[in-house]
């Protein structure tokens, strides 16, 4: 049982090429795409950040957190409270405490503070929770999500409770999103390919063996949890300043499931898989969302079917899981080294074998 990722360093040529491609893509979209497409591109970018950071925790450490959307909410609400103009604050959040009511920040500091708050909370709940494993941690993080929601709904002084939180300045641009996307992918990559990362993968493969070899399970898990919490909060802030209005319901089960679908379809444990999975699922969702509004097929009009998108996604999810448990990419990464190498041959490092896990004898 090999730990999946080798400790290959980020090779300069492929990564620069990727960065260049990304830059080109952003420029292109910025210049010529319709507002609708541009919006999709931005939202997809945010989703990718969410999914890749979730992958850090779920895919690579095997700690399957169901509560990450809680961090997204924290990032969204904290940053939004900070960036709201003073007039909007006075209007929508009249009961804010004095020190907050007179604060209005720029996007970056607000975003970072949001991320920091999330990180602190992640440390606080991570220390106790990362000791658990398997279902228990999933259920516990779900508890966290529910707690966050209850707080959001009830702490009306800060959050307007269940009512829509609106008036958020539309600071998010494609540059912000894709800048953070690059940072996210880079960060996650570095962690995964660091000694910490190898430790994490060892733990995921076989926790007992890893402990026997002295891997500090707890520390690597907490690190992954906190970093991914931070990045998720950033994504939340980005999202909040794109859609400009939201409510606690935006950060609950539907969102959780959407992200998880993208994660699983792409493959837990593969960054490129996360990107692929996100793009695919987003496209599918968009199509279905349009279909939900009712479509014409020739003379036949199919009436609006709210909830259809979710159903189809759920079914698709089950199908993917049944037929290909590891998602599209499984544990493998797209071998950029090979793709970009001008000599046409893959490097020895680049050749990745998909290593199957010994299957449990099943009935």
């Amino acid at each position: 049982m090999k730990a999946q990722a080798s400790s290959r360093p980020l090779r300069l040529l492929p990564s620069l090429t990727l960065l260049a491609l990304l830059l080109a893509f952003v420029l292109l979209v910025n210049a010529s795409a319709s507002p609708y497409i541009a919006r999709i591109v931005v939202l997809t970018g945010i989703s990718i950040i969410l999914v890749v950071s979730l992958n850090l925790s779920n895919g690579f450490t095997g700690v399957f957190s169901l509560g990450h959307v809680g961090f997204m909410a924290i990032g969204a609400y904290v940053s939004s409270i900070l960036t709201l103009t003073l007039e909007t604050k006075a209007q929508n959040l009249p009961d804010l405490p004095g020190w907050l009511a007179h604060v209005q920040m720029g996007f970056l500091p607000a975003m970072l503070i949001g991320g920091l708050v999330a990180a602190v909370i992640a440390v606080l709940i991570g220390i106790p929770l990362m000791r658990l494993s398997g279902h228990y941690v999933s259920v516990a993080t779900l508890g966290f999500l529910v707690i966050v929601r209850i707080v959001l709904v009830n702490w009306t002084r800060f959050t307007r409770g269940a009512r829509t939180f609106s008036g958020v300045p539309a600071y998010t641009t494609i540059w912000w999103v894709y800048g953070w996307l690059a940072i996210t992918i880079y960060t996650v990559w570095r962690i995964v390919h660091s000694p910490y990362g190898r430790a994490m993968l060892a733990v995921r493969e076989n926790e007992i063996a890893a402990q026997a070899v002295g891997v500090n399970v707890l520390r690597s898990r907490i690190l992954a949890f906190v970093v991914s919490g931070f990045l998720t909060a950033i994504a939340g802030a980005l999202w909040a300043h794109k859609v400009t209005s939201f409510s606690p319901g935006s950060f609950y089960f539907t969102q959780t499931f959407n992200i998880i679908i993208m994660l699983v379809v792409g493959g837990m444990g593969s960054i490129s898989g996360s990107v692929l999975g996100t793009v695919l699922v987003t496209l599918l969702s968009e199509l279905l969302r349009n279909a939900e509004l009712g479509i014409h097929i020739g003379p036949v009009q199919i009436p609006p079917l709210y909830g259809l998108a979710q159903i189809i996604l759920a079914v698709a999810f089950v199908l993917v899981v049944v037929f290909s448990r590891k998602g599209l990419m499984g544990d493998r990464e797209i071998d950029w080294g090979r793709l970009v190498s001008f000599r046409g041959k893959g490097t020895a490092e680049g050749r990745n074998e998909g290593q199957g896990r010994p299957d449990q004898p099943q009935d």
Binding site: Q355, G356, R357, P358, D359, P361, D363
Partner: protein, 234 residues
């Protein structure tokens, strides 16, 4: 009665059994010996239908049982007392035994067999209502065997029955094995304790890293120099 033809079983990329063939004739006691990890348990699990071979066939009384599910295999009269016993800890000894009887509905026959099992293992009768998990290791092994016998199997598979037991217990276990054999049962015995196994068996196979490297009747195996050195501490 039972034949394995060129059976291979893999766990992912690990090949546990590589093309083994063996046979057990009616009324025989055949033993499968070999060191730890040789694949002996895998072999029994494959016969019982818990694992399915990637290659090869398992034939019982002329019928291919390779792909049968475990409960269908039991229904054909093949019963196993597995390595590690796997008794139902929180159920009573009595419930464990009755579960062994499974699908049987013949009350009279059941009574007779119950009495037979109690005769073989008197200690079980004393502990009928106790939770199986409170029994000692040796008693649990007896329970596992008794449970397997409750279905009156035509073929009994025993996986390391003496593992981890005190010498006295080991004696008892092998005694019972002899008795069952004497009553006309067919037994396939997997054992690390090669010495005792070869004492009690008619024929044997030696399994090493997934392959049968030696076979023959028990006496010649006992006297074989290689076997002596490797397994009999000679």
């Amino acid at each position: 009665m039972l034949e394995l033809e060129d059976v291979s079983v893999s766990y992912g990329s690990i090949r546990a059994l590589r093309g083994i063939s063996l046979s057990v004739r009616e009324g025989e006691l055949v033993t499968l010996i070999g060191s730890n990890g040789a694949g002996k348990s895998t072999c029994l699990l494959a016969i019982s239908g818990v694992l399915h071979p990637q290659q090869g066939r398992i034939i019982h009384k002329g019928q291919d049982i390779t792909r049968l599910s475990p409960f269908e295999v039991v229904r054909r009269g093949i019963s196993q007392a597995p390595e590690g016993r796997h008794i139902f800890a929180r159920l009573s000894v009595e419930e464990n035994l009755m579960l062994g009887a499974g699908q049987r509905t013949d009350k009279a026959g059941l009574e007779k067999d119950r009495r037979w099992v109690y005769d073989l293992f008197p200690v079980l009768r004393d502990r009928l209502s106790q939770a199986a998990g409170t029994l000692s290791g040796g008693e649990q092994q007896m329970l596992a065997m008794g449970r397997a016998l409750m279905s009156r199997p035509k073929l009994l598979l025993l996986d390391e029955p003496s593992l981890g037991l005190a010498p006295l217990m080991v004696e008892t276990i092998f005694d019972v094995t002899r008795k069952v054999r004497a009553e006309g049962g067919t037994i396939l015995l997997v054992e690390q304790n090669a010495r005792q196994a070869l004492e009690v068996a008619d024929r044997g196979y030696v399994l090493e890293t997934g392959q049968i490297i030696l076979e023959g009747d028990a006496t010649s195996l006992k006297n074989d120099a290689g076997v002596e050195k490797a397994y009999l501490g000679g």
